[in-house]
Amino acid sequence: MRKLDHYKFRVFKDHIMRFLVYLSLVLVLIPLFSILYEVVKRGISVISLDFFIKPTPTVGEEGGIANAIQGTFITIGLASLIGVPIGLMSGIFLSEYNEHKLSVIVRFFNDVLSGIPSIVIGVFIYTLIVRSIGFSVIAAAFALAIIMIPIVTRTTEEALKLVPLSLREAAIALGLPRWKIIPTIVLRSARKTVVTGILLSIARIAGESAPILVTMGYWRWWFAGLDRPVANLALNVFIFATSPFESWRALAWGSALVLILIILGINIAVRIIMREKSW
């Protein structure tokens, strides 16, 4: 009889724990869905074809966010061009040249770098680049690249470390030098995880606003050269959300929606890539 009571108590505890787990799940999802709901509800009303093909309007005129979309992609693209190769190389170094004395130091400073607030990185670039060539796409791209590098480095390192030793040994036993094994065997085996890390770092910088503000500032025109500023979705949200005009606030919600959709799109792409297993 006591045994049965004991069993009932265990079942009871199981129910309680399950309830708590579901409760936390709901608590986590409420903010996410209320944000999404609010952004979609307010953003969807301004979205039209014009919204995607017209640039920032002046007061009272019709306009869109085409220049901000263009600017965001150019800035992210240039940042990736700078940040991805460096992150990739450092990741390879940390994983494949683990025995090197420098690797401990590199790993430590990479972790430090990933913890630096993005506004500090922005100010750093401000003193380094903006003060000599001015607010520009280049300055913003460098700031975003610095934010990307530790993310790409870490995910690349982790991805490469997952490649089984048996594959490396097979390649070494074929009499292949290490510099040939890394791109053809190791990187190729881990390419999906590596690409995932790169995409996630792009998603991360797509929504950055603080470092953009101090390196490029707000700009309402089309792209006019890498040494000039360009419009940006995150800054659209920042500037228009606090404006006194109804139509501009709507523009902010629309920009927010497009930004979220871009980031969501990247995350979905990651899911699709990861679904097909590497091996």
């Binding site: 025995e99 048996s166 040994e169 390649a171 074929l174 009499g175 030098p177």
Partner: protein
């Protein structure tokens, strides 16, 4: 007297502080199969991996002594381990084809990465290597499919073909049949016998009967030492050492 293909002199190996191979002296003859037997943890695999400098890729691993291959000590300063491994190939316990590559590329990769660009030369090498391991007829229509979909025995033969494609002189095999069923094992054993025409083979095996079936010479290792080494017939019919006799009789292992 045949000149030994590989001559091992005072070979010692460590993992960190653990002394796993103690003063091994041994001569491996050309175009023969030499079996390495002994209980688990006796240093068989480490010994094998010392023969093509695979031991040193493990962090903390260390080797001393000489392994003289074609008259050159492979541990001499200035000897590139990459070139040694090209000449002394290896097949592992668990079949490990490159899963992201086609069957064709699995065999061709060693040559491709060593600079062979000529498509015809690659085709010929792939075909010859696959024919040598009797896999050609089974896979000739699926050369562009992934090697990961083959059966375990086929995968292991693919790995042997991959090792043979770079034209080594010696083939080291680390329990190549331990993950395979009896039929696949029989195929690989027959293949090993055939390969002695052109290759020198050193095989580590847990299976004493296998050593008796396929090898010309047998070395018995125990606790990191070479206890007895000689023609397989003599080791099995008339072992000189009590430990060897006990191991072969299955009294421990």
């Amino acid at each position: 007297m045949v000149v030994p293909k590989i001559k091992v002199e005072n070979l010692n190996a460590w993992f960190g502080k653990k002394h796993v191979l103690k003063n091994i002296n041994m001569e491996i003859k050309e175009n023969t199969v030499t079996a390495i037997i002994g209980p688990s943890g006796c240093g068989k695999t480490t010994f094998l991996r010392c023969l093509n400098r695979m031991h040193e890729i493990i962090p903390g691993a260390r080797v001393s002594g000489k392994v003289i291959f074609n008259g050159i000590n492979i541990y001499d300063k200035g000897v590139d381990p990459v070139i040694i491994r090209k000449k002394i190939g290896m097949v592992f316990q668990k079949p490990n084809p490159f899963p992201m590559m086609s069957i064709y590329d699995n065999v061709a990769i060693g040559l491709k990465l060593n600079g062979v660009r000529d498509k015809k030369a690659l085709d010929t090498a792939v075909r010859q290597s696959l024919e040598l391991v009797n896999l050609w007829d089974e896979v000739k229509d699926d050369l562009n499919r992934s090697g990961a979909n083959l059966s375990g025995g086929q995968q292991q033969r693919l790995c042997i073909a991959r090792a043979l494609a770079v034209e080594p002189e010696v083939l080291l095999m680390d329990e190549p049949c331990s993950a395979l069923d009896p039929i696949s094992t029989a195929k690989i054993e027959a293949l090993i016998r055939r390969l002695t025409e052109n290759y020198t083979i050193v095989i580590v095996t847990h299976n004493i009967q296998q050593a008796a079936r396929i090898s010309d010479y047998t070395a018995f290792f125990y606790l990191g030492e070479l206890i007895e080494y000689g023609p397989t017939k003599q080791i099995f019919e008339n072992p000189k050492h009590e430990l060897t006799r006990k191991y072969i009789m299955g009294e421990f292992g």
